[in-house]
Amino acid sequence: MLDGAASGGPEPIGAQPAPGGAYAAVRPALSVQNVYKSFGTHVVLSDINLSIHTGEVLAIIGPSGSGKSTLLRCINFLEPPDRGIVTVGDVSVSGGVPVARRELWRLRQNLGMVFQSFNLFPHMNVLRNVSLAQERVLGRSRKEADEVSLQLLARVGLTDKAQQYPARCSGGQQQRIAIARALALDPKVMLFDEPTSSLDPELGFEVLVVMRKLVESGMTMIVVTHEMGFAENVSEHTMVMAEGVVVEYGPSREVMRNPQTERTKRFLRAVSER
């Protein structure tokens, strides 16, 4: 659910039920409050507010340069916001002030991130890619971590690639490995930054199938995407961003089929005419 959509103004994050009454008035799994980010004089995010409940899937769509990816990167502080608060579970971290390493660690502990360009570690085999952080961050033994990794690789359909190096895998396979790697740390919320944008439609489809399975398993997800079908059919809510502000937010089907703002209409028209 999102507050202050299209207003650009700082409005409080409420816990009111989302349209359709799917979520109870409980603490959100993740919330973003008045997040602002600029690079020099260029404002990339202008007081963004959003909240998402456990098990909810939010799609973020919009034209290139609208701030979608930056928003995701601000959520896990890969790009620290200039101001605003990001809360995941019971961890709140403020932008614009020095962040204690421990707080950042606790925030990221709850977040899994999947990148557009996969970012697998090329010098490690697939199994090691998935196991490494489990050992280093969660303190699992090598054996324990490898067992978890093999289960996750089975979940994304890639057990047979465990001993291969990423360069020997297709783009779609690499992205599925990246998903398994992020899941290995048991995150509460998964962030997907255009996970299929660098893949051809067939390979992108493999990734979308895995993402759908994740949704069915109840994973809370924020997905920056250009896959309109995924946004409409899989995510409960869709947020449309342009020029660093939220121009529209609502149940995905409504946003897709009956957009309210001119900017959203223009964007969707451009997508459908491609």
Binding site: R108, L111, F115, N119, H123, R136, V137
Partner: protein, 212 residues
């Protein structure tokens, strides 16, 4: 045969000089590289100035500064120690630059992924950055090691009995300069080529794993 044996008496000195200087450079190059790319401006500036000074002065001049300058009057040192200090210092700066090239070659997405996975700074370096950096640095490091092997010839100027020193001595006593220096040239080739070949082999082996 006698000439060859006489020349080969210098080979252990040459190899010892090269190996020690390269080892010193490989180890010290790492903290120097970190200083060179540090976020702390004073540290970065100090490293930049140090790099410029060391690289601007020819190795022979450094050797004379250390041996005839510092070594006579300030701190007593043997010719071999002076060589080690000079070559070790120059190797450290050059290795730091080679490492820096390796570091720059790593895609920024690798750092992002490592941070997103919550790896600590040490683990980011040990598990993600260092293996990729050293792999990229491998061919340049081998080339530099070969360069160091050849440059160690200047140690002959302060009396280290290495290959070139032996050749010079033989040439002056036998008056067969062409033969002596031709032979010593062949010895340099015989050592350099296998090192270059092994480096290429190792690089190709690693590359085959990580690249299509």
């Amino acid at each position: 045969m006698g000439m060859l044996l006489q020349l080969l008496r210098g080979l252990p000195w040459t190899l010892a000089l090269m190996a020690t200087a390269f080892a010193v450079g490989s180890v010290l190059g790492l903290p120097l590289m970190m200083a060179r790319v540090s976020r702390l401006l004073p540290l970065r500036l100090a490293a930049t100035v140090l790099f410029a000074i060391v690289r601007s002065i020819p190795p022979l001049v450094w050797l004379f500064i250390i041996f005839f300058g510092i070594g006579f009057g300030l701190i007593n040192m043997s010719a071999f120690t002076a060589c080690l200090i000079a070559f070790g210092m120059i190797a450290a700066i050059n290795m730091a630059e080679i490492y820096r090239g390796g570091l720059i070659a790593i895609h920024f997405g690798q750092f992002e992924a490592a941070h997103a996975l919550n790896l600590s700074g040490w683990h980011v370096f040990r598990d993600v950055v260092a293996p990729q950096m050293f792999r990229v640095a491998l061919p340049s490091s081998a080339t530099y090691a070969i360069g160091l092997f050849k440059d160690s010839a200047i140690a002959s100027t302060i009396g280290i009995p290495e290959l070139t020193y032996q050749a010079n001595y033989l040439s002056q006593t036998t008056f067969q300069g062409l033969k002596v220096f031709g032979l010593v040239g062949l010895i340099y080739i015989a050592v350099s080529l296998p090192v270059a070949w092994m480096s290429r082999l190792l690089d190709a082996k690693i590359r085959a794993k990580v690249a299509r």
